[in-house]
């Protein structure tokens, strides 16, 4: 049984197609990346899957059932939203107390360790907390809830690099002990890339890429050298970006078996393209129009 299945799922707001015919299957027990630019439809898709908004058309299941108004399924789901609001009178510890009562798998001692890790002042009023401390609350709930399906929507606004690293480390070690399905939406792609087993990239509400992260590594290469050599090499190859500077040129292209060696033999220098750069190239408007043209 899949953790998440959608078929031609769509959500339209007046004339905006926020999610536009998404068909994906996510297996249980994996860490997924849900990537894409702002406005690509990532948050809308997660809101659909957690029953917070209703689909315009299409079908979806979470653990084999329709999640909409399905208490049993929603109890297995934890959705950490980017800008979660809490009651004004709440302190951080009140939020954690509520979370403990809501999530069946909640681990209080794990939550306590995370509070220490992130140095969260639990007795301070929520409205007095910094942006980073608010993000830390979300992360603590997302991890300590140990929900079979956990969504983190851009969970670390305002968190510094050290705190983000703590998040990655705790997520990995707890995931190893308690495997579950995690969907992480983030713009920090390079940082998170090694954690993700599979990525789904959305662009303008549609699925642009749905692939194992390992298959994308080495998927594209960047070559550079004399413009004439580069031009000769990229003919008949799938180019996703190209730049020229005087007599020199560089090109990013989808690499086939043997391309790397062939480029080196042609006296071109070859460098790898990170997942982040690959996605940047694939979701840049100017580039997309030249590819499809």
């Amino acid at each position: 049984m899949t953790a998440i299945s959608t078929r031609d799922l769509a959500k339209t707001y007046k004339d905006v197609r926020a999610v536009d015919g998404v068909t994906i299957d996510l297996e249980p027990g994996r860490i997924y990346g849900l990537l894409g630019r702002n406005g690509a439809g990532k948050t809308t898709l997660m809101q659909l899957l957690t029953g917070q908004i209703f689909a315009t058309k299409g079908a979806m299941t979470v653990f084999g059932e329709n999640p909409v108004e399905n208490a049993e399924i929603l109890a297995q789901t934890c959705f950490i939203q980017e800008s979660q609001k809490y009651p004004d009178t709440f302190r951080a510890r009140d939020v954690l107390t509520v979370a403990a009562s809501v999530y069946p798998n909640w681990d209080d001692s794990f939550a306590g360790r995370l509070v220490d890790d992130f140095r969260l002042p639990t007795k301070r009023l929520i409205k007095k907390l910094s942006r980073g401390q608010l993000s830390a609350i979300g992360i603590i709930i997302g991890l300590a809830s140990r929900a079979p399906l956990t969504f983190f929507d851009e969970p670390y606004l305002g968190l510094d690099a050290v705190a983000r690293q703590i998040f990655y480390d705790r997520l990995l070690s707890d995931f190893a002990e308690y495997p579950r399905t995690v969907v992480l939406s983030t713009h920090h792609i390079d940082e998170a890339a090694n954690l993700l087993e599979h990525v789904v990239v959305l662009d303008e509400g549609r699925v642009l890429l749905d692939s194992d992260t390992e298959e994308l590594r080495g998927h594209a290469i960047q070559i550079s050298g004399r413009a004439a050599d580069v031009d000769a090499f990229v003919a008949n190859r799938e180019v996703i970006a190209q730049e020229r500077m005087g007599g020199l040129a560089s090109a990013t292209l989808i690499a086939n078996e043997g391309d790397q060696d062939a480029a080196q033999r042609a006296d071109l220098s070859v460098s790898p393209v990170s997942l982040q750069n690959l996605i940047v190239h694939l979701t840049t408007d100017a580039q997309r129009s030249t590819v499809t043209a």
């Binding site: 994996r30 860490i31 990655y168 480390d169 990995l172 070690s173 995931f175 190893a176 002990e177 090694n194 954690l195 993700l196 087993e197 992260t213 390992e214 298959e215 590594r217 080495g218 460098s271 790898p272 393209v273 990170s274 997942l275």
Partner: protein, 119 residues
């Protein structure tokens, strides 16, 4: 340590091979578990497991049920043999290519190698 040029599981397998070759993991001793590798390298456990299984498939490591993965007897010899096979393509060819670009003759190149080996 890990880069974007090739699949991570391939790089992990190679790293463990290097550690076997330099004696970090002698034959018949345990290598790190999937979860230890994942935590240490900060990578997805499935990826770490794939790297280890690649070495199981090639007979470098073997599984002891419920205990972990161990370096097989003869693994060092097997690794050396396969690395020697690819040595010419991976090291000698680029060296000769670069030497030609710089106008270093084959004779001078051999002299350079001899000198380096003796120092």
């Amino acid at each position: 340590m890990l880069d974007d040029s090739r699949p991570l599981f391939v790089q992990i397998a190679e790293q463990i091979e290097n550690d076997i070759l330099d004696g970090t993991y002698p034959e018949e001793t345990a290598v790190p578990s999937t979860n230890e590798l994942a935590a240490f390298l900060r990578i997805n456990p499935a990826t770490a497991g794939k790297g280890l299984n690649r070495l199981v498939d090639s007979g470098i490591l073997y599984k002891r049920r419920g205990i972990g993965m161990f370096v097989a007897t003869g693994a060092t010899r097997q690794l050396k043999e396969s690395r020697q096979t690819s040595f010419a393509a991976e090291y000698v060819a680029p060296l000769v290519h670069e030497a030609a670009k710089l106008g270093i003759s084959t004779k001078d190149l051999i002299a350079l190698i001899t000198k380096e080996a003796q120092s």
